[in-house]
């Protein structure tokens, strides 16, 4: 049994095999793997006796359940009006320059992905970005490069 299959099985033991167990299992796989691979979705469909199209349908509905390969650190910059007016484009440019990736891309070492997100609810403290579950409000290009450089030092 592959690692992914084991993970899915373990999650199914924990959350049950009802249709309603699908969301927590999808979330758990994303937490561990950063995205839902074809193998993971097939494993989930098998475990819950659902069709793979159903699993894909649910996963593709949610922005935070990616179905394409993502890095260990997923950076999401808020793209909505307030953050836009407060200079989110400059933030994105700064990250792009440091990591050498464009929006939607992942670094070749699979450590970082750069994405935009819809409103993160921090309009009063924009621009804001999210790295995995960590929120970084009121950022400037300078602050952003400091933060990204800190992440680059991490393993």
């Amino acid at each position: 049994m592959t690692r992914i299959k084991e993970l899915v099985k373990e999650q199914a033991e924990k959350h049950g095999r009802e249709r309603t167990s699908l969301m927590p299992i999808l979330q758990a796989v994303v937490r561990s793997e950063h995205y839902l691979s074809e193998e993971a979705m097939i494993a989930i469909a098998e475990e819950l006796d659902l069709s793979t199209a159903d699993v894909f349908g649910t996963a593709s509905f949610y922005t935070f359940l990616d179905t394409v390969h993502r890095g260990k650190y997923i950076i999401r910059v808020c793209k909505t009006i307030t953050c836009h007016m407060k200079g989110k484009d400059e933030i994105i440019r700064t990250i792009s320059d440091i990591l050498k990736i464009k929006l939607g891309e992942t670094t070749t070492d699979s450590r970082f992905s750069l994405l935009q997100a819809n409103c993160l609810g921090w309009c009063h403290k924009g621009p804001v970005m999210l790295i995995n579950d960590e929120v970084y409000p009121e950022i400037t290009p300078e602050k952003t490069s400091e933060i990204i450089n800190e992440y680059l030092k991490k393993k």
Binding site: M41, S51, G57
Partner: protein
């Protein structure tokens, strides 16, 4: 459970209906037709297209009549100015996301969205063109089904069909908002996913987002090729449905006209799949009796219950979902695929033709038959046994293209040989029919007497119940069948794959006590097939079934083993059921496939 009555007014007319009735159905009772798109009689409520909105007195918003149950004192207007305007805008909005390339479209003239735009005289497009996937290539990976996302209005009839009627869910709603679409797993080609090719989605698609792959031009090319000898076979269920293509009532028996039309289209010989349906009974009946003997006399481990193998959608379903039970599946090819190799061997010899120059065309109520004909194992004759498969709908189109005035045609008869058939063969078209035909023959073979049902009509296994079960007590058998004396033969029938699943789960759990099970992929059997005329609903399918049973009663011979051409082919060519030649030409094997 007693039903409460609810009183309401629709267009100022008072009506009293059962609690829980939708506004749509209440209006129908008063003969007001509210337009619908996502609603389908065979499917659960969706309420997403909004064209069925009505005005409710005192309500601020317009409720969708298909999804709103009636309530006491309700006052509904189905055609007020507000409703008309809203409905027009809704249709316009749907069109703004639909590739309305009507003149090039296979569904031109048969499209529910087109009809509605026409009824409401939708003229200038007032909304932005937001058609998705206009430049995306059509998915023509499957030999059965074509998927064109640019025509999809996301009503989700296909999704509900695939999930609730067929337990397949090859198609699902994916993504969200303006990116929402109907997609396979990871948007893979239709041929690479768990699709049974049953075509029930096509039957319910209101536009041309899902259609059959059509092979009309290829067939005309063959007909006009002077070097080709083109024979056509027609499935049992086509004869009670083809009339609908020409405005006749569902269930109209148009066998003779269909034969005449096929001849006028230029087919060299018009033959009948019903002949090989009779042959199927001989082979499958013998296979069943052999399995029973092995189990009861020889004490062998035999896979029982035996499952019928006539329905290619069902076969692919089993290969994907129940590969562990493939031994239970009869090894008999379907009647279509028995016809092909016999046409290119036995028949070719009789009419002195080189099989290499022969083209075998099938007219089928089925889209899965197109896939079946492409299976690599279907080359028993040494050639591709069946070259082209056309649906009943495609035949309708060919007849119209050729300018043949169908309803004025005089009845004609099938050519011989491979054209003679019995009432037992024609009932293959309705759910329970294969079982009834098999019982008529097997019972008589074993006891020497006719089945103990009035006028050979085995009524308990007819009808539209999803799963039917029956028992036939076998007694006073002929000496050679003494091991069957007193045996209670338990049979079951399922139609629609969601019902097949019920029986298959029982078998898997070891809870089924049946000896023989008939399964058809499509609701109501082949008469409700994915290649049949549209629209479809239970009322239409019941009428077609009635046509099938009338056709049976009108036949002189009603038992497969009494078909003289069947007797002849065993005498001069096959020698015996399950014999060496049968094994080579009429039997097959199956391929376990992945569930996901």
């Amino acid at each position: 459970m007693s039903k409460y009555k609810v009183n309401l007014k629709i267009n100022n007319i008072p009506i009293s209906v059962d609690e829980g009735t939708t506004i749509l159905d209440a209006a129908r009772e008063l003969n007001f037709k509210i337009p619908t798109l996502c609603h389908h009689d065979d499917l659960c409520v969706a309420g997403n297209c909004r064209v069925c909105v009505v005005e409710q007195k005192g309500a601020r918003l317009l409720p969708a009549s298909c999804a709103t149950p009636v309530s006491e004192g309700m006052e509904i207007q189905t055609n007020s100015l507000k409703v008309r305007q809203a409905r027009k805008h809704i249709v316009e909005l749907l069109l703004s996301e639909h590739n309305a390339d009507c003149t090039k479209c296979f569904k031109n003239g048969y499209c529910e969205l087109q009809d509605m735009s026409n009824d409401y005289r939708i003229g200038d497009h007032i909304f932005l063109d937001l058609v998705m996937d206009k430049d995306k290539e059509l998915d023509i990976s499957s030999p059965s089904i074509e998927k064109d996302d640019s025509k999809c209005i996301r009503c989700q009839r296909c999704v509900r069909t695939c999930a609730n009627m067929q337990y397949v869910s090859a198609l699902a709603v994916t993504h969200k908002g303006n990116n929402m679409r109907i997609s396979t797993f990871l948007d893979k080609p239709m041929n690479d996913v768990v699709c049974t090719n049953c075509g029930q989605c096509i039957n319910r698609c209101p536009t041309a987002a899902l259609t059959e792959r059509n092979y009309i031009d290829e067939v005309f090319d063959a007909i006009y090729d002077p070097n080709k000898f083109v024979v056509v076979q027609t499935a049992p269920a086509t004869r009670v449905a083809i009339g609908e293509e020409f405005g006749m009532e569902p269930g109209t028996r148009a066998t003779g006209k269909m034969v005449a039309a096929l001849r006028r289209l230029g087919f060299d010989k018009v033959l009948d799949t019903d002949f090989t349906a009779d042959l199927t009974i001989m082979e499958e009946g013998t296979e069943l009796l052999t399995r029973l003997k092995e189990a009861l006399v020889d004490g062998k481990e035999v896979a029982l219950p035996m499952l019928t193998s006539c329905s290619p959608g069902w076969i692919k379903f089993q290969e994907h979902l129940y590969p562990d039970l493939l031994d239970n599946l009869s090894t008999c090819k379907s009647p279509q695929q028995m016809f092909g190799p016999l046409a290119k061997t036995y028949y070719a010899e009789k009419v002195n033709k080189n099989p290499a120059d022969m083209v075998v065309v099938s007219i089928m109520p089925c889209t899965a038959k197109k896939f079946e004909a492409e299976r690599p194992e279907m080359r028993g004759s040494g050639y591709k046994d069946v070259d082209y498969v056309l649906t009943t709908r495609e035949l309708g189109r060919m007849i119209r293209q050729a300018g043949i005035d169908f309803d004025k045609l005089e009845d004609e008869k099938y050519d011989s040989i491979l054209g003679e058939s019995t009432g037992a063969a024609v009932i293959f078209g309705a759910t329970g029919g294969v079982m009834e035909a098999a019982l008529r023959t097997a019972y008589e073979l074993v006891t020497g007497r006719e089945v103990p049902f009035t006028n050979l009509n085995i009524k308990p296994i007819r009808g539209m119940e999803g799963v039917k079960e029956a028992s036939v007590k076998i007694k006073d058998v002929k000496p050679e069948w003494s091991f069957l004396e007193g045996v209670e033969l338990n049979v079951a029938i399922a139609h629609g794959l969601v019902n097949a699943k019920i029986l298959m789960d029982k078998i898997r759990a070891g809870e089924a006590n049946h000896h023989f099970i008939e399964i058809m992929a499509c609701p109501s059997g082949c008469i409700g097939g994915g290649g049949q005329p549209m629209p479809t609903n239970m009322e239409i399918r019941k009428k077609r079934a009635a046509g099938i049973y009338e056709e049976d009663e009108a036949m002189v011979i009603r038992k497969s083993h009494e078909n003289p051409e069947v007797a002849e082919i065993y005498k001069s060519f096959l020698h015996e059921p399950l014999g060496h030649r049968s094994h080579d030409l009429l039997h097959t094997h199956y391929t376990p496939r992945k569930r996901h």
